[in-house]
Symmetry: C2
């Protein structure tokens, strides 16, 4: 017998590529085109590394308290992790231990089935309607938990608060995770519902709207009891997940409301301009409340050909496989200048 | 039914406390008393936060390549994670999927049984001998894997390379993890054995000898195949675990061999001085090859009384519970000045 027989074998998630090419317009991983708050740079420049010899605060109080203040919650209602991937994976491990399958859409964040597989959680993928909308009736039957990205990725489509609440209400016996990674770009959060439903966990990230993907910061908001269970699991795997720069700089970014509003507003404006231009070029897409547009070209040229021609011009978008999405490309929103270049090149490619 | 029935309930690990008291002599969590390499401070001062808007490199090439260079290994033989806790937890999840119990000593790093519990891995704790040494015959039977801290914590005792190799050799059908968190303080590494044994995984950390506990950096060295399996699992949970400051500053610290040797040598010297003083005061302990001493007082006063009196004098040591260790306190090695104060206060307490 070989040790290989006991290996947990998985088909790993393939992250969007991070190529090192100069002057690249990188609109493939939904990063924010703007740098983080200038206050982050200021703190970084004044940072002393002397403290690095010590362990960080395992309770992450600096960051947790900042988020509690900013979102008017109690610190005990907040969990932080190494990006929302860490937060979501910890939630899956903590809450999804039933023999019944957990439910999520067939087209959604592509990590959900990966986590279910690695943690041996049974799951069922509920087909979206042809227009990429969620049929909430699909989430009313017996299940081991529900996870919904809202707005959904990569479609960009939002489910109304009323419908999200119906799903939470119909599933009081399991945990419902609402992944709000993109909510800050004009979406509507259901975070206030945590006062009404102890089975609701709302997950968010600093990687998009806070321009801090490079620091890896995610968080969850839920009732005290939910958060306590997650902390128990976290402390059983790695007590010190968040390093000192994440805790300090994350807190500073959280407090800078003004810059946050300025940059998210800017991304929204650029998105709306891009939508108009894409429509004029013959693309169609569901109405996006995120920092990306999931678009399909209605003319002759295939998606892959367009993407490949964009690539030749140093523009990278994200293409997913699968029958329902094979004609779509996900275009992250860059700066005005970048998007003007993208539209100009698309015009040239499609002419 | 309530959602609580499906919660993964665990008894979490309790990390050593991180109190915020001025002028505290904090020798309870084996932190390095010296700040990280001055080159880390220099890079930090010049750091631009602009890049933080982007995701870090999921392959962690900057840090992996630095470690490969420093330890003359191939980059494909190195795995990095958020502290050695992340690395070890990932290794447990990846390699320990047998129905047979994994084996580790009854007195060792207190996270091993916590990980086994959270991941539902059967385990058996093999009793150390009365002198805290490992009987290698305990690790020769059928098992699902072996994990050994060498030097062991909290005892500080080292198992000879010859004996470690015997354990690896007797267990070719499972993975043997050798946790070398403390090896840089005069211990002997078995890392060269990975060329001979594809079932050996050596795990290390930047938290002790590199003075970077606050950045959370751990790593594993093993054959390419082992590392590939770990990467698959890592990419299935969180593709971007290491944030940008960890990757950049970790690489810089790894390359600064001179500072590393200077500070580890200093800690070893201070440890040897402290051993002598503790012996004179009536303490006994196994010979430590780490940055701590696991000591028992042979006089009248109980351990808890000594620890509590030290605490009154703003000195915190670590005390573990359990029959075999209830008379011992773990004393991390601080600066010369700190250890002189500790010895002075102990003299006063015990007089």
């Amino acid at each position: 017998m070989s040790w290989e027989e006991n290996v947990r074998k998985v088909v790993p998630y393939v992250p969007g590529e991070q190529p090192k090419i100069d002057n690249l317009i990188k609109i493939n991983t939904n990063e924010n085109p703007y740098p983080p708050s200038p206050k982050v740079q200021k703190a970084l420049s004044e940072y002393s590394s002397d403290d690095f010899r010590k362990y960080p605060d395992p309770t992450c109080a600096e960051l947790v308290d900042a988020l509690a203040t900013v979102y008017s919650r109690k610190s005990s209602e907040i969990f932080v992790g190494v990006g929302s991937d860490d937060v979501l994976a910890t939630a899956f491990l903590t809450f999804f231990n039933s023999d019944k399958p957990i439910l999520f859409p067939d087209i959604t964040y592509s990590f959900y089935d990966v986590w279910a597989n690695v943690y041996r959680i049974p799951f069922k993928q509920m087909p979206l309607r042809a227009d990429f909308s969620i049929d909430i009736n699909d989430y009313m039957g017996e299940n081991g938990g529900v996870v919904i990205a809202n707005p959904n990725a990569p479609t960009g489509l939002e489910l109304s608060t009323e419908f999200v609440e119906k799903i939470i209400e119909a599933n009081r016996d399991v945990v419902v995770i609402v992944d709000e990674a993109y909510v800050d770009f004009g979406g509507k959060s259901v975070v206030d519902l945590i006062d009404k439903y102890d089975n609701l966990l709302v997950v968010r990230t600093f990687s998009k709207s806070r321009s801090l993907a490079g620091l890896r910061i995610g968080y969850a908001i839920g009732c005290e009891k939910l958060i306590k269970y997650m902390l128990d699991v976290k402390y059983s795997i790695n007590s010190y997940t968040m390093n000192m720069p994440s805790l300090k700089l994350g807190a500073i970014a959280a407090y800078d409301k003004e810059y946050f509003e300025l940059t998210t507003k800017k991304v929204i404006e650029t998105r709306e301009w891009t939508k108009k231009e894409l429509k004029d070029l013959g693309f169609s897409f569901a109405d996006s409340h995120t920092n990306f547009i999931f678009a399909k070209y209605n003319g002759e040229m295939s998606r892959d050909e367009i993407a490949s021609k964009l690539r030749e011009r140093k523009i990278i978008v994200r293409c997913f496989n699968g029958d329902k999405v094979k004609d779509y490309m996900r275009i992250s929103i860059g700066t005005d200048e970048e998007m003007q270049t993208v539209i100009k090149e698309l015009k040239d490619i499609l002419k």
